[in-house]
Amino acid sequence: MRSTSADVIVLGGGLTGLSLAAALGSAGVEVAVLEQEDWQELLSAPYDGRVTAIARGPQLFLDAIGAWRDMAGAAEPIRDIVVHEAGSPVRVCYEGREIDGKPLGWIVENRAIRRALFERVTRLPTVRLQSRAQVLAIEREATAATVTLAGGERLRGALLAVCEGRLSATRERLGIPARRFPYRQTAIVCTLAHEKPHRGLAIERFFPDGPFALLPMQGHRSSIVWALEQQRAEAVCLLEDAAFLAEVAERFGDHLGEIALEGPRWHYPLVLVMAERYTDHRVVLVGDTARGIHPIAGQGWNLALRDVAALAETLVDRLRLGLDPGDPLALATYESWRRFDSLVLVAVTDGINRLFANEQWWLGLVRNFGLLVVEQLPPLKRLFMRHAMGLLGELPRTMRGEPL
């Protein structure tokens, strides 16, 4: 049967896998992307109803790999972010001008991101996309890994980049342990059309039964991400649209005027997944496969893009020196570069969620005090903001606005 080779084999053509292929392909690296679903299906409207808040660093990266151009038209700038706890007078405002007057980030529909990445990747001559790919076996030798697909085709690469999302079958097949912590929460996601403009304001409000976020989209529209304890979520799911909208309005007030649902409501059960390690012989885990975090701070894909940017830089730098892109030194560079950053975000998002999802009265004091402290200390707040914007830590050069 047919046998081909590439420098890097990307397993999973989701947002993470496609952006890795776009980054590597833009530097001329030979890449094969294997996606289990059909592209047309993935690009069609009903597949993913979410939006993603893209922070500044990741936006610079997307621009550097030539993918931003195609999604810029669909991106709505976030000018201000207000975070506060329901029923408490304390609030933290992240205003754009505190950094330098530029948007804090952008909201883009996942559908638009996927399409833009797909278009970018199909224009790159060294990237090969294969959909409906079913991995039957993976063999690893000293210098390469070989993937056998259903149909018999064999692909050999110096490195396998696993971008299969948090429930990755390949991670399991290779015996890389991952710990799972179910949040017993479900995220409800939907789009609202509203009467008044949102003025680029994103709102994050914490309720005892879970966080609620309102994200500005293009036009008079906003996206809702509402995490609820599972049973509550099921009850809310059963509500008629009108009753659902009433619940929603109760949670964020009436500053947007009349509201209506646009499109269906989506549901995502939430689980924290952390792989024990990000690398294995001839293998790297990238994005949600390495760690899938709580969507509370809108950081999941931003973190994934930091993986992608760090990995792409590591591999391209090695290939430009003629070095093997998948040897243990390359893996060690990636692992040590990414581990600390991930741990910080897992701890922060998990910590915030636990703090706010608890009903004990004294925690209320702690969290009000915590938010107050953040608000009262401008340098600390700027630090949080810079991290949320993805501009902190030892940044890959593409996240500082430089070419790969």
Partner: protein
Amino acid sequence: MTADREEIARFEALAEEWWDPMGPMRPLHALNPVRLAWIRALACRHFGRDERQLRPLGGLAALDVGCGGGLLAEPLARLGALVVAIDPAAASIEVARRHAAEVGLAIDYRVATAADLADRGETFDLVCALEVIEHVDEPEALVADLARLTRRGGLLLLSTLNRTLASLLGGILAAEWLLGWLPPGTHDWRRFLRPSELARMLRTHGLQPVALTGVGWDAAHDRFVLVRQPSINYMLAAVRS
């Protein structure tokens, strides 16, 4: 014949372990990125190539003298060069051949010395002899052979250890005895050449030194870096006019 039999035997013992970056050749693997970056930069400047390309040395005829298991030859081939790589140690060449076949690189490996090739009149655009000269009995004879192997307008790249107190302490005592990076007895300090001595030999044989850099250990980041002082390990580039 400038290759010393005892030296050859010593490397043969290590041959099977060439390619484990965490194994006994760890220091060479650790040195490789900084060396390759320097070689690439000089070669691209000299031959007018673009450093950001994945195959910037495309089409250049390159020779790696004392190639060992192929740690330099393979990267040069990946960068596009047509590589001939020689070593008098047959076991190393065997390791190198097998490895290149495994990763799918076409490299012409031969059990030979620089003198063998020079006598046959072979010439190259780019000649590399890294960590070789300190292991031969007659360094000047090697330089003469390397000069014959370098085409007019071609580039010769050498790296070796300086004969300073620092290299005695840092290069031999630390690397061979304290840190256990290299087997004890790998180097003989008295054979080391100072950059000025090496430069003089190069000029005598029609090669013009064009660049000199030291290589140092950056303990904070756990990696080798280029440094101004060539006090321990240094690299020298020369052009055949």
